[in-house]
Symmetry: C2
Subunit: 276 residues, 2 copies
C-alpha cells in the first residue's frame, strides 16, 4: 500500500533516497557475505595450505606407497607404522578397503580351489596361519593405534589369553569350503603351545573353525626360531608324512617364504605389524 | 548529489517506491542465483547419483583391491586389466602414484645397499630385469589402453625394435649407485637375443645404462620356456661362476621366483600385464 506523508518535499526525497541506499547497502552486504563464503570455500578446496589437507593428500599418496611396499615384501623388519600413515592405516582397516581386499583374494582362492580335483587318499592339504588370517586381532590393535605403537608382548599375551578374537568371515567361509571339498586343513601358528594351546583351540572352535586336521603350535623345541624357519620345519614334517600342500594362506611373508611353501601361496593384507 | 524534481508529490513517491522495489528485486534475484550455485554444488558433492561418482568410487575400491592382489601375486595368469579398472590403471600410471611407489621402493633398496659391504673379489652381483624395470614401455601401453587390450606380440615386437623405450629414472639412479658401490650388475631379459640383441643394447646405452657386466637375452636354447624357468637357469649359471646375488629387481613375479633368486628380491609395480 502507498501511504501519503506530511513532510516537506525535500525531506521526503532525502528519506526515500536514504531508504534506497540502505536497501542497496544491506543487499550488497549480504551478497558480499555469500560471495565470500563461496570464494573462501573454493580457495580452501583448490589451494589448501601445506599444513592441512594438502599434507594429508601427499601423506595418503606416500601411505599408499608404503602399504604397497609392505604388502609386496619390499620393506623388511619394520617395527611401527610411519606416524604420518596412522590415520591412513586406521581408515584402511575400518572403512571397507581391507574387507574389499579380503573379498577379492578369497574369491580368487575359491576359483583356484575349484580347479583342483582332490584325490581320495586323504593327503590333499591346505595351510592357514592363525593370527590375522583365521582370527582377527583388530580390536587389540585398535588399542595400539593400528600399529602405531611398537609390539607389546605382555599386552598381546593378555589379549590372546582371553580367547576373544573374532573369525575373519571371508576366511571362515573358505575354510569350510576346503573341508567340504575334501582337503585336510592344518593351522600353523607361532603362538606358544604351553601358554596358548587351550585358549587358541577354544577361540577357534567358538568362532566356527571346526573340522580341521590339526592345530600346530610352537613347542619348546622351536622357541626363538624365526617364523620362516619354524613354519618351514612344520611344513616339512607334513610333506614327509605324504601331504601335498595345495595352498598356504597367511598375513605375513614369513608364513609363505622358506621351504615346502605349497603349490600356491596367498598373502592377506596386514599393514599393522611385521613378523620376521 | 541530490537533484530537485518537478513532478507531483504522489508520482514522485511512486517512482521512488518503484525504484526501491526494483533494487530489492535485482538483489534478491542475484542472491537467489548465488545461493542456488552454492546449494547445487553441495548437492552434487554429497549425493552423487549411483551412475556417476558413486560407481566410480566403488569401482576404485575394487580396482585398489585388484591392483593389490596382482602386486602381491595373489592373482595368476591374468590376460587383461578388468574393464572397470582401465581408467584406474591409467590414472595410477600417469598421475603420480606409480612414481611415488617407485620412489619409496628404490629408497628402501638404497638403504639395503648402504648396509652391504661389498668384498673386493668382484663377485658381488645385482640383477635387474629390463622391460618395465630398467626401460619403461608406458608409451607403448598407452596405445594398448594400459593393459586393456590383450598382449599383441607383433605390435610389441615393432615397438621394441624401435629402441625408443625411456629409462625409469629411479632405477637408472639405483643402477649407477650399485656400479659405483662395486657391484657387478647383470640385466636379464626374456627378450629374444637374435631379434632384439642389438636394439636392446642400443636402447639401454642411449638411456644411460652404461657399465653393466652383462646383458643376458634369451637364446635359441631357452625359447618357449617360462620366465621363472629361464631366469632361474640364467641365475644358476651366475651363481656357479661364483657370483653372490645380493639383490634382484623386477616388475614381474616370474623375475623373482624360482631358484637362486638372490638375498633380497624387489617387486616393482606393474598393473598393465602379466608374464608367466
Amino acid at each position: 500500500m502507498f501511504k501519503h506523508q506530511k513532510a516537506g518535499r525535500g525531506q521526503d526525497m532525502i528519506r526515500h533516497k536514504m531508504k534506497i541506499i540502505q536497501t542497496e547497502t544491506i543487499f550488497l552486504f549480504l551478497l558480499c557475505v555469500v560471495l565470500k563464503m563461496v570464494t573462501s570455500k573454493e580457495t580452501l578446496r583448490n589451494h589448501r595450505p601445506w599444513q592441512g589437507g594438502r599434507l594429508a593428500e601427499l601423506s595418503s599418496s606416500y601411505c599408499l606407497s608404503w602399504r604397497l611396499a609392505v604388502e609386496t615384501d619390499n620393506i623388511h623388519g619394520w617395527r611401527t607404522v610411519p606416524v604420518q600413515c596412522l590415520h591412513d592405516v586406521e581408515v584402511y582397516m575400518l572403512d571397507g578397503q581391507y574387507a574389499s581386499d579380503l573379498n577379492l583374494i578369497v574369491e580368487h582362492i575359491g576359483n583356484y580351489v575349484d580347479g583342483i580335483v582332490p584325490s581320495d587318499d586323504g593327503f590333499d592339504a591346505w595351510i592357514f596361519d592363525v593370527d590375522d588370517t583365521c582370527l582377527s586381532n583388530i580390536f587389540y590393535y585398535q588399542g595400539k593405534r593400528f600399529g602405531g605403537d611398537p609390539y607389546d608382548p605382555q599386552a598381546f599375551k593378555e589379549w590372546a589369553s582371553r580367547g576373544v578374537s573374532r573369525a575373519i568371515p571371508q576366511i571362515l567361509q573358505l575354510f569350510h569350503k576346503l573341508i567340504l571339498s575334501g582337503f585336510k586343513v592344518f593351522l600353523i601358528t607361532g603362538r606358544d603351545e604351553t601358554t596358548f594351546g587351550q585358549t587358541t583351540l577354544y577361540n577357534l572352535h567358538f568362532q566356527g573353525f571346526f573340522g580341521f586336521e590339526q592345530l600346530i603350535l610352537r613347542s619348546e623345541a622351536y622357541k626363538g626360531q624365526s617364523g620362516v624357519v619354524y613354519k618351514s620345519e612344520m611344513r616339512r614334517k607334513l610333506v614327509e608324512q605324504g601331504y601335498r600342500i595345495w595352498g598356504n594362506v597367511g598375513d605375513q611373508w614369513s608364513d609363505l617364504h622358506g621351504q615346502y611353501v605349497g603349490n600356491r601361496t596367498f598373502k592377506l593384507p596386514n599393514p599393522m605389524y611385521y613378523v620376521p
